[in-house]
Amino acid sequence: MFKNLSRRFGHASTDRQSAYLSQNDIESAASRNDLHGTYSFFSSVSLPILTSNPKPFFHRFVEFCKLAVESGAISWSEILTEFEATAATVEKAFDAAANEPKITSREDLVQSNSAPIVSAPVAAGQAQKLFDYSNHREQHASGKGKAAAEVMRKHMTALFDEALSGRSPAGEHVVYLGEDVRHGG
C-alpha cells in the first residue's frame, strides 16, 4: 500500500533526495505530484485546453474545479486569476521573509516565542493588588451579599457568558468551539 504512494517532497527543504533516490525516481514522483503538476499546468496551458482535455494526473483537482464551474460558483478564468494571485502572494511573502533582518541573539529568539504581555489599565487612585478573598467567601458563610455562592463550574459558565457577550477584555468577537458544547459539553 505504501510502496506506490506519491512522494510530494523530501523530509525537509534541506533534504537532498539525490543521496538516497535515483534521478529517475525523483522525476517520476514529481510527475505524480498533483500540486507541482498543477502549477506547471496552469502556467503552461491555455483556458480552452484546460477545460477540454485535462491531463490524467490532474484529474481529481480539475474535476473539483469543473464541479465548481458547472454549479455557477466560479468561472475558469476566475480560478486561474485566483491561482496566479495566490502564487504571487506566496512569492512576495517568501521574498519579504528572506530579506528580514536575521535574529542573532538567544535573548531575541526567546522574546519571539510569544507576543508581548498586555497589561490591564490601572484606574486612577487604585492600588493594583486589591482583591479581597474574604469579601467573596465569608459573605457566603454569614448569609450576606446579594449573589448566591456557587461552585467553580458555575463561575466558569458565567465567565464565558461575560466573554461571549463582548464584556471581557477579549472584546467583541469571542466564539466557543468544542465537542458537543452546544448542549453543555
Binding site: 521573509a97 528580514e100 535574529i103 519571539s112 516565542n113 510569544s114 507576543a115 508581548p116 498586555v118 497589561s119 490591564a120 489599565p121 490601572v122 484606574a123 487604585q126 493594583q128 482583591f131 478573598y133 474574604s134 467573596h136 467567601r137 465569608e138 459573605q139 457566603h140 458563610a141 451579599g145 449573589a147 448566591a148 455562592a149 456557587e150 461552585v151 467553580m152 463550574r153 463561575h155 466558569m156 459558565t157 458565567a158 465567565l159 464565558f160 457568558d161 466573554a163 461571549l164 457577550s165 464584556r167 471581557s168 477584555p169 477579549a170 472584546g171 468577537h173 469571542v174 466564539v175 466557543y176 468551539l177 468544542g178 465537542e179 458537543d180 458544547v181 452546544r182 453543555g184 459539553g185
Partner: protein, 336 residues
C-alpha cells in the same frame, strides 16, 4: 460547563465532532480570520490526538517572527484526579512548549479573575494560552465535606469596569495560612504573614491546593509545626515561576537571615502531574536555582509516574506524599 450558552449565543457556540486535529486546526483558522476562539478539549488526554497541530500553533509566533499572533485560548478539561475513565479521563501530565502560557486554577474566584487576564492576552495580545481544569474542583464545595465548610463556594466577582483589579495575572500567587474558620485555613495577604516565623512553604496548584491545605492542617494537628510556621502558596501559572513566587522566596530567606532563625526555611513543590519531565514544578526548580532564589532545603513531589487505573486514586498526589516531602525538607533545614 457551557450550559445555556448556545441558546443565548447561537452564532457563537460551535459544535465539532470528536476529531481533535480538525477542531484545533479550525480554532486556529477562526483566530486567523479575526475571531477570538475559546477552544474546549473535553478530556486532557485528547489533546494528544491534536499534538502536531497544537505544537505548530504554539510555535507560530516564533516561526513568523511575530507576524502571526492571532491568539487562542484552549480549555483543557478533565485533568488529574478522578475514579472515572482511567488514563483517558484522568490525565496528569503537562508538556509545555515555548510559546504557550499554561494556568491551572484551584477555585472559582481565581478562575474568573485569571480567565479575564487570559482573554486579554489572547484577545488583545495574540498569545496562545491554555487553562487546565481539574475535574474534581469543578463542583467541589468543601475542603472537609464532613464539616460542610463551604471553602470552595464563593460569589461571582462581577467586573467593575476594565482594570487590573478584576484580573489575576500570570505573576500572581495566593497565600494561605491557618485561621479559625470552619475549614481551619484561608487566603491571607502577604503583608499579614510574618515570614521570619515560616519554616515550611508548600507550593502547589489546582487539585494540589486542597491536598496541600489539608496537609498543612494535619502537620499542625500533629504538633509538627505551629500555625504561623507554615504557608501554602497557590501558584497557578505553570510556564515558568511567577515573579511573586520568586519575590516571596527571596523575602522568606531574607527574613530568616535578618532574624537569625535556627530553622532554615524549607520548600515543598507539590505537583499534581506525574513525577518526571512532564511535571511543571520540575522546571520551576531549575529556573529558581538559575535565578538564585531556590532555598537550600527543598523537595519536589508529584503523582506516581505511571498510568492511572480505573476506579482508584492510588496514583494521584496525596496528603501523605506532601507530608513525607515536608518532613524530609524540614529535617534537612534544621541547623546542627
Amino acid at each position: 460547563m457551557t450550559d445555556g450558552l448556545a441558546a443565548k449565543y447561537p452564532l457563537r457556540v460551535h459544535d465539532f465532532p470528536p476529531d481533535e486535529t480538525a477542531l484545533v486546526g479550525a480554532a486556529w483558522g477562526y483566530a486567523q480570520a479575526g475571531l477570538r476562539p475559546v477552544l474546549e478539549i473535553p478530556y486532557a488526554k485528547y489533546l494528544d490526538c491534536a499534538s502536531d497541530m497544537f505544537h505548530e500553533i504554539c510555535a507560530t509566533h516564533w516561526l513568523t517572527n511575530g507576524r502571526e499572533a492571532p491568539g487562542l485560548l484552549i480549555r483543557l478539561q478533565g485533568f488529574d484526579k478522578g475514579t472515572f475513565g482511567g488514563n483517558f479521563h484522568t490525565h496528569n501530565s503537562l508538556h509545555i512548549p515555548p510559546g504557550l502560557d499554561v494556568v491551572c486554577y484551584s477555585n472559582g474566584l481565581d478562575y474568573v479573575r485569571g480567565a479575564r487576564h487570559l482573554l486579554r492576552q489572547t484577545g488583545q495580545g495574540g498569545r496562545v494560552c491554555m487553562s487546565v481544569d481539574c475535574t474534581e474542583l469543578l463542583n467541589r464545595r468543601h475542603l472537609y465535606p464532613e464539616l460542610q465548610d463551604g471553602f470552595f463556594l464563593s460569589q461571582f466577582p462581577t467586573a467593575q469596569g476594565d482594570s487590573v483589579a478584576q484580573e489575576m495575572t500570570f505573576e500572581d500567587v495566593v497565600l494561605y495560612q491557618p485561621n479559625d474558620s470552619k475549614a481551619r485555613c484561608g487566603a491571607i495577604a502577604k503583608d499579614k504573614v510574618d515570614l521570619s516565623k515560616v519554616s515550611l512553604v508548600i507550593v502547589s496548584y489546582g487539585n494540589g491546593l486542597p491536598t496541600s491545605l489539608i496537609t498543612m492542617n494535619n502537620l499542625i494537628e500533629k504538633g509538627t509545626l505551629k500555625a504561623e510556621e507554615v504557608l501554602v502558596v497557590d501558584s497557578p501559572y505553570l510556564t515558568r515561576p511567577p515573579k511573586e513566587l520568586e519575590v516571596l522566596l527571596t523575602e522568606l530567606q531574607q527574613a530568616h537571615q535578618d532574624h537569625g532563625r535556627k530553622q532554615e526555611p524549607a520548600v515543598v513543590f507539590a505537583d499534581i502531574c506525574k513525577e518526571g519531565p512532564a511535571m511543571p514544578f520540575a522546571s520551576f526548580v531549575v529556573s529558581l536555582q538559575k535565578s538564585g532564589v531556590l532555598p537550600a532545603h527543598w523537595r519536589a513531589v508529584g503523582g506516581t509516574p505511571t498510568y492511572n487505573p480505573l476506579g482508584q486514586l492510588l496514583t494521584f498526589l496525596s496528603t501523605d506524599d506532601i507530608e513525607q516531602a515536608a518532613t524530609a525538607a524540614l529535617q534537612s533545614g534544621r541547623k546542627k
